[in-house]
């Protein structure tokens, strides 16, 4: 059953609006650790995610198997009768749209052999590291959305590779690669080179010291920080009040060098979409522009509530960001690191947690390469430290942005992101006592 057939079936019941979202995914993954393959995973899945409305009442259900559809629709019809109005729900988009065609080519990606790549990568790099581990994904998705007013199909594929290597002293560094465009695929063969460069730089490792430091943040680190920031721009979250962006529209929260977009239109990444879940064409939305909060992310209902316009980010109930894109600058990453007199170059971070979502106060734990820089040179690498800071302090402290960007997607910590290297003037470091 395709999404149109499902829509026609559901429309026979007592609903006003019906939104059917059919998603079919095929995913392969090879996971390896300590130089050997642990497991190969394969997922072939299809499911329907459906919203039905009557006036301002709305109900959502999903089914994995078509045989469960009728039963679920009958339940939804009963449930909808029992519900009260949702004052935050107005309607879905009713404007009829023509949709763009995707610009990315995915033939090479379709034919890419991730098992062979893993074997080759391990053979080529094993002599440079004590031990290597990582995951490689080959993903494919077909999306079909049907509403009372629009229907569209979308299709995308990707290769995503993350690898972590440990040096002879068992100190790690990591690199990430993700693309949905054949033109970028060759760059996967540069990952080993970058990994080896970062391994060589690790040198002697010592416990870090507390203090405030100048720092160059690798795209993997900065992507992680903005991946925690961007979802808070969802108008649903802003409306709840528990968001760094609440009450800050048009306020300056960063340096003029910092512009952050939600960009579903960059088809070279797997988070791209031609339209959102209510059929509004997606766009590139500046959330922070030259340091000022410029837009919240909206669906049709939140846009009505906020007296704004949809940004093409439905989620029927809660608007959702698609992809991170940070505006590149003009600087060379190598020169940014060399310009540090007394500071740090940090590759990655994890376990970011907020003690205050409203003020953006958080801590996060740097990992995978924390390089101590003096007079432009790496003198040692650090361990055992934590960044305890606020989003405003970091964003306002941005003094340099590289012209080079990297596309990254690491585990559960980063969204699909295209991010440059960033130079920050004040990064607060704490450690255990």
């Amino acid at each position: 059953m395709d999404a149109v057939e499902a829509y026609e079936f559901i429309k026979k019941y007592d609903f006003e609006e019906v939104i059917v979202r059919k998603l079919s995914t095929k995913t392969q993954q090879v996971k390896f650790s300590n130089n050997e393959i642990d497991i190969t995973n394969n997922w072939d899945e299809t499911g329907f995610d459906i919203y039905v409305t009557k006036g301002r009442k709305i109900y959502n259900f999903d089914v994995k198997n078509e045989k469960d559809l009728e039963k679920s629709v009958i339940n939804a019809e009963k449930a909808l009768r029992l519900l009260e109005d949702n004052p935050d729900y107005f309607k879905i988009n009713s404007e009829k749209y023509q949709y763009r065609s995707r610009s990315n080519r995915i033939i090479k990606i379709s034919n890419f052999d991730i098992s062979q790549f893993t074997k080759d990568f391990l053979e080529d790099n094993i002599k440079f590291a004590k031990r290597i581990g990582g995951t490689i994904y080959k993903k494919s998705m077909e999306l079909e959305v049907v509403t009372n007013y629009n229907n569209f199909k979308d299709l995308n594929k990707s290769i995503e590779f993350n690898v972590r290597a440990f040096n002879e002293n068992d100190i790690p560094t990591q690199q990430s690669f993700a693309t949905s465009h054949d033109d970028d695929l060759e760059n996967i063969y540069k990952v080993g080179e970058e990994l080896r460069d970062h391994l060589r730089m690790l040198g002697k490792t010592v416990q870090g010291s507390e203090g405030t430091y100048h720092a160059v943040l690798h795209p993997l680190f900065f992507a992680s920080i903005v991946s925690y920031t961007l979802p808070m721009a969802s108008a649903y979250q802003v409306d709840s009040g528990i968001s760094f962006f609440a009450g800050r529209l048009n306020q300056k929260i960063g340096s003029s060098l910092f512009t952050l977009y939600d960009d579903a239109t960059d088809d070279s990444m797997f988070g791209s979409r031609i339209a959102d879940d209510e059929g509004v064409p997606t766009k590139k939305t500046p959330v922070i522009e030259k340091g000022f909060v410029k837009n919240y992310l909206h669906n049709t209902s939140t846009a009505i509530k906020f007296n704004s316009e949809s940004t093409g980010n439905a989620g029927i109930i809660s608007p959702t960001p698609w992809q991170v894109s940070v505006e590149p600058g003009t600087e060379d990453p190598k020169e940014m690191i060399e310009s540090i007199r007394d500071g740090l170059y940090i590759v990655n971070t994890w376990y970011t947690r907020f003690q205050d979502y409203r003020e953006g106060i958080f801590s996060t734990i740097p990992r995978d390469g924390i390089y101590r820089i003096k007079n432009g040179e790496v003198i040692e690498s650090w361990t055992g430290m934590r960044v305890s800071d606020s989003l405003i302090n970091i964003f306002k402290g941005i003094e340099g942005v590289s012209r080079e960007t990297k596309k990254v997607k690491w585990w559960d910590e980063t969204m699909y992101s295209k991010v440059p290297y960033v130079y920050v003037s004040k990064l607060n470091i704490t450690k255990s006592k």
Binding site: Q29, F32, S33, I37, D38, T40, N41, N42, W43, D44, E45, T46, G47, I58, N60, F61, D62, V63, K64, N65, K71, N75, A76, A79, L82, L83, E84, N86, S115, G133, T135, N162, V163, R164, F166, P172, Y236, S240, G241, I242, I317, W350, Y351, T352, R353, Q355, D356, Y357, R358, E359, T364, I365, G384, R386, S388, W411, D412, T430, K431, S432
Partner: protein, 459 residues
């Protein structure tokens, strides 16, 4: 069983070991945002997961049922198992059993309008306490699962769970404070009484409001009495996680990381003699309860740290097989389509002999930290941070005024070595534990008694 047997027979022809797992779930959820009924949803999910072992382990999952599609999927699982890699599983017995979670008020018998009414009542309590930011949700799930493998194991499970999640925020005096309240229960809607839901939320709101007006402390060394919520998160983060054998062997090395504990560290001291940390999936109604793990191995209580000494790993058949040990039955999954890995269930510091009054009365200058907000730990589970939410100063053996965001930033060894007395109380808290790639968030409890630490740096 018909499809399972057919699929197992097909895999068996080409594999040294094969396994088929079926799961069918029906889940329901309701959310309120600042007083508005925000989302009402249901989810009907089922599918099959497969494992085959030849030169390496291969896993597959599909919700397709047409044989030609399933066969193609199985062929790929078999083909992938021929890729060279790790290919050992521990030898365990054959188990044939059926088990179910004990339920008093069935999930299916709880009307939608009654669930909505519960959330409305909670929202009303918070409105009366003038809490402006309120996201509240209640969810339930009924799952039926069947596991069969080529060794003859056949396990059927019938699982019911209920969960509550709330985020509340309060802003006054130029200060903001937030609180996440997560409650989980294996069973039916008798969970509401078990949680004492309305009083729990009311107390949380009161503590949140007081914390906005509290003052910061002067950084320095204090004696610290931690409440069961802090005992629980520490047990989870710095005893449970570092004792996961797959992590110790490096299988999570590029994601959640490894462990400060090495395989050969069994028997080493990591804390004072007062420290016993347990992981026990057999506690009835616990959020991570199971009778058999996802590998079909019978669940049991595990002493991770015993008298402060590293004692027993959390392992599944894959990790135990690599080092020629028996599995400790910690194999779990978050959803039917994920590969099984070692996980915690209910992790806690075992109670000792002291009352809270006895722990406090012997403290001249200290802090009582009852709950936390921000926390994190490094990827070897050694450097950790806990920021107090409800916390008080202790002066001359008495609890004094509430303090704001006291921060403990310490190491695992320092924390457990500083414990000089453990309370006789025991309380559990629900959580969602993240690990794996793709990420698998599994339901857990964590907890413990009050405990006293001497001379700890706080800021």
């Amino acid at each position: 069983m018909h499809n399972l047997d057919n699929y197992l027979n097909y895999l068996n022809r080409y594999s040294n070991f094969s396994e088929v797992y079926f799961s069918g779930t029906l889940a329901n959820g309701i959310s309120f945002k600042n007083g508005s009924l925000s989302q009402v949803s249901s989810s009907n999910s089922s599918g099959y997961a497969f494992r085959a072992l030849d030169r390496s382990i291969s896993f597959g999952a599909t919700n397709e049922e047409e044989w030609s599609i399933v066969k193609e999927h199985l062929d790929r699982v078999i083909e992938n198992s021929r890729v060279p890699g790790r290919n050992k599983l521990s030898n365990e017995g054959v188990f044939k059993d059926k088990w179910e979670v004990a339920v008093k008020r069935k999930i299916e018998d709880m009307a939608l309008e009654d669930k909505i009414s519960i959330l409305k009542d909670i929202d009303q309590i918070l409105i009366e306490k003038k809490i402006p930011m309120r996201i509240l949700s209640i969810a339930d799930i009924r799952q039926k699962e069947i596991l069969v493998n080529s060794e003859g194991t056949e396990i059927e499970g019938d699982i019911s769970k209920v969960a509550f999640f709330g985020v509340i925020g309060y802003y006054e005096n130029g200060n903001f404070e937030q609180r996440f309240v997560q409650l989980g229960f294996s069973g039916g809607y008798e969970a509401l009484e078990y949680w004492d839901l309305f009083n729990t939320i009311s107390n949380e709101a009161e503590a949140l409001k007081r914390s906005v007006f509290a003052k910061s402390i002067n950084p320095g060394y204090y004696d610290l009495v931690v409440g069961p919520e802090i005992s629980g998160i520490v047990a989870h983060e710095s005893a449970g996680h570092p004792m996961e054998l797959d992590r110790i062997l490096g299988r999570e090395m590029s994601q959640a990381g490894e462990s400060f504990i090495k395989f050969q560290d069994m028997g080493k001291q990591v804390g004072s003699q007062h420290v016993n940390v347990v992981d026990d999936p057999t506690i009835e109604h616990s959020y991570g309860y199971y009778k058999y793990d996802r590998d079909g191995v019978k669940a049991k209580k595990r002493y991770l740290y015993k008298n402060g000494i590293i004692n027993e790993f959390l392992s599944n058949r894959e990790s135990a097989g690599r080092v020629n040990l028996k599995s400790t039955a910690a194999s779990r999954i978050s959803e039917w389509d994920k590969d099984p890995i070692p996980r915690m269930s209910t992790t806690f510091i075992e109670p000792g002999e002291y009352s809270l009054e006895e722990l406090i009365e012997d403290v001249k200058h200290g802090i009582y930290m009852k709950s936390y907000n921000e926390w994190n730990i490094d990827d070897i589970r050694f450097n950790e941070k806990y920021v107090g939410l409800e916390a008080y100063i202790i002066e001359n053996g008495r609890i004094g005024e509430q303090i704001r965001r006291p921060t403990l930033e310490t190491t695992t060894i320092k924390f457990y070595s500083s414990i000089d007395a453990v309370g006789k109380d025991l309380k559990f808290f629900a959580g969602t534990c993240g690990k794996g790639d793709p990420m698998q968030g599994v339901d857990v409890w964590m907890g413990g008694p009050h405990a006293r630490l001497r001379n700890i740096y706080m800021r």
